[in-house]
Symmetry: C2
Subunit: 236 residues, 2 copies
DNA sequence: TGCGAATTATGAATCAGATTCAAAAAATGA
DNA sequence: TCATTTTTTGAATCTGATTCATAATTCGCA
C-alpha cells in the first residue's frame, strides 16, 4: 500500500543520512573515532534508532563499503563503453581504480579494514552478502573485458578461464594499493612514490600475459600520454 | 652488571611467553577473542604486568607481527644462497611466501590486520618501528636479487632502480594473498582456488619485466615441476 | 642478617563506548 | 476517539581495555 511505501522510503533516506554522516565523520576524524552514540546524535536520532539499521558498528562500516562499491561499479561501467582496445580497457580499470582511491581516501581505508576478521565477522550476514553482491558485477565486467580480448584474438587463454586471467591484474592492482597505503612502509624503504611506476608494472604484467598490442615499458612518456588520454575519456 | 643482565633476560623471556601464549590463543580462537586479562591469567601474571610489556592490546598484536617478520627474514635468507638463477630466486620468494602463509595462518591474518588504521595508530611508535625494521632487510634482500639480475644481464633496468622493479612482484604477491584471504571473495565469484594459478601469474609478470630466462606460461607442468624443485631446495 | 629505599607485580576499580531494552511516543485503523 | 501495534528513545547494562593505589619483592648497604 501507499503508506508503507512512503515509510520504507523514509527509512531508506534515514539510512543514507546515517551513512553520509558516518562518512563525513570518518573523513574528518578517522575510522576509530567513529562512535555510534555520537553518530546518532549528529543525525538527531537516538542511539537505538541507529541500531535499527545496523546490527553493530562493524555492520555500519560494511554497509558504507557496500555503498562505495556501487559507485565503483558505476565508474567501471563507463569503461566498457570506451572506444578503445580491450587492453586499454583493462589498463583503464587500473587508472580508474587509482583515481577512485585518490578521491575517496575513506573508501581506500575501509576496503582494507572491513575484510579484517575483526570487522567482517561482526557484520551481519546480509551486509556481507551486500558487499560481495556489489563486487559481482564488477568482477563480471572485468571478466567481460578479458573475454572480449580472448574473442578478438588479442589475448591467448591457454586453457585459462577469463576469470582466472582477470585475477592477475586484479591482484597486482590490489597489491600496489595495499603497499602504497600501508603507513610508512614505502617511506621506510625509501621507495619513490611515483604514480607512473604502478602503471608501468601493470603494463609489464599485461605484456607478460601476451595481451596485444604490447606496450613498450621503457617508454614512460608514452605510458604517461596514454594515462592522460584515458583520464580525459573518463573525465577524471 | 651481572644481576641486571639476568633480570633483563627474565623480562625478555616473559615477553616471549606472553607472545607465545597470545599466538596460541589467536590460533585457536581468533584475533578478536584475544583478551588482555585472559592472556595475562593464562600466563599466570596480573593484567598490569602484561601492560608493562605492551602499551596496549594493539601494541601486543604489532609485536607479534614483528616477531613473525623475523622468521620471515630467516626464510628468505635461505633463498639468496640457493644455487639457482636470479629469476628462480625471485620466483622462490613467492613460493616461500605462500608456504609461510599456509603454515602461519595467524601471521597471514595479523599482517593484514596490524596495518589497519585502527591497530597501527594504537601501537607504540617503537613497536611500529620494530615491524618496519624487520621489513627492511627483507626488502634489501629482494632488491639484492633484482640487482643481481640487472648485473648479470638477465634483467634490463630501463632506468628503474632495483627497488622500483622489486615492487612489482612484491605487489603481485601481496595482492594475490589479499584476494585469497578475503573471506568469501573468490568463492563468491566462483574463482577456482588453484595454487598454481598464482605462480603462473607471477611468471607472466616476470616475463613481462623481461626477466631472463623467460618461462613458457602455457606449460603448467613445467611450472609445477619447478615449484616442486624449489620446494625441495627450501625443504618445505 | 636486618633495614629502609627503590623497583615491580597485583588485581580491583575505573573508564570508554557498544549494545540493549523497558518505557514513552507515534502511527494505525476500527 | 481509543485500543492496538509499531517505532523511537536514551538511560541502564555490559564488556573488556586500561590504570593505579597498594602489596610484595629486590636491592644496597651497614
Amino acid at each position: 500500500m501507499g503508506t508503507s511505501e512512503r515509510k520504507q522510503r523514509e527509512r531508506d533516506e534515514r539510512e543514507q543520512l546515517f551513512l553520509d554522516t558516518a562518512e563525513q565523520m570518518i573523513a574528518s576524524d578517522g575510522i576509530i573515532q567513529l562512535q555510534m552514540a555520537k553518530l546518532a546524535k549528529a543525525c538527531d536520532y537516538a542511539t537505538g534508532t541507529l541500531y535499527q539499521h545496523f546490527t553493530s558498528r562493524e555492520d555500519l562500516l560494511v554497509a558504507l563499503a557496500a555503498r562505495h562499491s556501487a559507485q565503483h561499479l558505476q565508474m567501471f561501467q563507463q569503461i566498457i563503453a570506451l572506444p578503445v582496445s580491450s587492453r586499454d580497457k583493462m589498463f583503464a580499470i587500473s587508472v580508474a581504480e587509482r583515481d577512485f582511491r585518490k578521491h575517496n581516501p575513506t573508501h581506500a581505508k575501509l576496503s582494507q579494514y572491513i575484510f579484517t576478521e575483526a570487522v567482517w565477522e561482526n557484520a551481519s550476514a546480509c551486509r556481507r552478502e551486500q558487499v560481495l553482491q556489489c563486487g559481482q558485477p564488477i568482477a563480471a565486467l572485468v571478466c567481460g573485458i578479458v573475454q572480449q580480448a580472448i574473442d578478438d584474438g588479442s589475448l591467448v587463454a591457454n586453457g585459462c578461464s577469463a576469470m582466472e586471467l582477470a585475477i592477475a591484474p586484479w591482484a597486482l592492482c590490489q597489491g600496489s594499493h595495499t603497499l602504497e597505503q600501508t603507513s610508512g612502509l614505502l617511506e621506510a624503504f625509501a621507495v619513490p612514490r611515483h604514480d607512473m611506476q604502478q602503471y608501468r608494472h601493470m603494463h609489464m604484467l599485461l605484456n607478460g600475459m601476451g595481451w596485444q598490442p604490447l606496450v613498450d615499458v621503457s617508454d614512460m612518456a608514452q605510458i604517461k600520454t596514454r594515462v592522460a588520454a584515458l583520464s580525459v575519456l573518463l573525465n577524471i
